[in-house]
Amino acid sequence: MAEKMKGRGKNKLERNDRLVRLALLVVAFSAVSILLVITVFIIEQGTPIMFKYGLKSFLAGGDWYPSEKVFGLWPMIVGSLYVTLGAMVLGVPFGLACAIVLTEFSSKRVRRVIKPVVELLAGIPSVVYGFMGVVILVPFIRETLGGPGLSVLAASIILGIMILPTIISISVDSLQAVPPSYREGSIALGATKWQTVKMVLLPAARSGIVASIILGMGRAIGETMAVIMIAGNAASVPRSVLDPVRTLTSNIALEMGYAAGEHRQALFATGVILFFIIMVLNTVANVTASRMKGTKR
């Protein structure tokens, strides 16, 4: 009888186990299915209009006048790339320098203070960055460099700051993951600390650093609120860093409220292109990240 009870209890446990496994599987798949739903929805809403007006005029057209049924996304595609590139130029050297200082040239105590503070930067809402940009940076650029102030430069600077936490924390992690024997070997060969960093550590941590830069890039290209506030949103290809610029994300957010009919579909098409760019970036990031794992011992 006691054995029978035990058997029943075991069965019950097994059943519970199976139930829990099933529940977790459902939860895990819900994330996948949400992505699937979003992808299908965006593509279904956005692609018909792209083919209706021709892919070439959609991607390479320089004029965006939806009320006249003229949908050219070229200025926004270029705008997104310019702003992202600008953010990289400003953010990557700073971020990388900061990561090197934190791992190699500072004491543990300094690191323990600075790293959480840097990561806290990521927690500041983007609208606050945008607001700071409008109130401080934009008037500064207008008064010292000319132009309207709302510009590629302003957006690049703010985005450059916003991607710092991503670049710094992942770069620090990958620099720290370099085996101590590399460092010791280099020093033993008579290299200075800077030579060690330059010739041994950076190459060893290369793929992690590349992944951090690509993730930062993803953040920069996807940022919307801060960019709308400081980029000026002119739908034309900027001729200098002081000209206003409109990115793909701002194009959607800016006009979403009033868009109807084909205008609305064109905004979905903007989303399709953005989705495509971000997918490419993410894939590149994943590939380099897995390569990083491969080099680690």
């Binding site: 709302l150 002119a234 868009a259």
Partner: protein, 266 residues
């Protein structure tokens, strides 16, 4: 037992005296949606209307002229609000002019330029006229600020000033009257357009064809930039919607409009 009875009595009292208890906190009997330019004024009308008819809920939503028109067509709201003229197949809808609004061309208060011809405004926004010196100001490039595509204010400006000419694509684009005003208030060489009722001390409105943007000049037709604020509905409004429209058009409703900086219909 006694507690239960008390609860029942309380519930009954609630139902009798507070009709809101029945359908959640506040019920909606009439929904308006559309132009964000009209929304603040519609909120005022709704507020006073609800005070006069306790127990009725009037819900005012934004979304923009085009969205409001679509929502009205699909039956998602009884009244759509549009700050531009109806076009194309939207003309099937029943429209009522509930107020009129002037458009102001605004500049920084420190800008020496006091006025412009309408034709010059058109050239500024088409990108043909790029320096303030042609208008008697300093030789500095003009920062042109416009609204985004689809905005009712932009639609009205396009129709009243630009005609078939495009607003040039290098113009800075913002998505509300407020941000346009904010940018013009910051930049001494900027120019933009907003609803006349929203001009404040941060910016200055230009005289157009030597007529200042005030009620008198609009009434006698010397100030040309005037647009209608429309209520649209599927067929002539009935029931509560009709009551609300009648209130808006009444002397009291129109007085509210005037107090808030718009122009009454007559």
């Amino acid at each position: 037992m006694t507690r239960l009875t008390f609860a029942r009595i309380f519930l009954a009292l609630c139902i009798v005296f507070f009709p809101d208890c029945r359908g959640g906190r506040s019920q909606t009997d009439l929904t308006l949606a559309g132009s964000t330019s009209i929304q603040p004024f519609a909120d005022k009308w709704a507020e006073v209307f609800m005070k006069k008819h306790p127990g009725l809920g009037v819900n005012v939503q934004g979304g923009g002229s085009s969205t409001g028109i679509q929502a009205c067509k699909s039956g998602a709201c009884q009244i759509g609000m549009s700050s531009r003229e109806l076009k194309g197949d939207e003309k099937d809808l029943f429209e009522i002019v509930v107020a009129r609004d002037g458009l102001a061309i605004i500049v920084h208060p420190a800008n020496p330029v006091r006025g412009a011809k309408l034709a010059e405004v058109k050239q500024i926004f088409s990108g043909d006229l790029r320096s303030w010196k042609y208008l008697g100001g300093p030789d500095r490039p003009i920062t042109v600020v416009t609204r985004e595509e689809g905005s009712g204010t932009r639609g009205a400006f396009q129709e009243l000033v630009m005609g078939k000419t495009r607003i040039f694509r290098g113009a800075i684009t913002e998505d509300s009257n407020g941000t346009v005003r904010e940018i013009v208030a910051q930049d001494p060489y900027a120019v933009g357009f907003i609803s006349l009722g929203l001009v404040n001390e941060q910016v200055r409105s230009l005289d157009l064809d030597s007529a200042a943007g005030n009620e008198e000049n609009i009434r006698n037709g010397r100030y040309k930039l005037v647009r209608p604020f429309l209520f649209v509905s599927l067929g002539e409004p009935t029931g509560l919607a009709k009551e609300f429209v009648d209130f808006v058009l009444s002397a009291e409703g129109q007085a509210l409009v005037k107090k808030e900086g718009l122009l009454p219909i007559k």
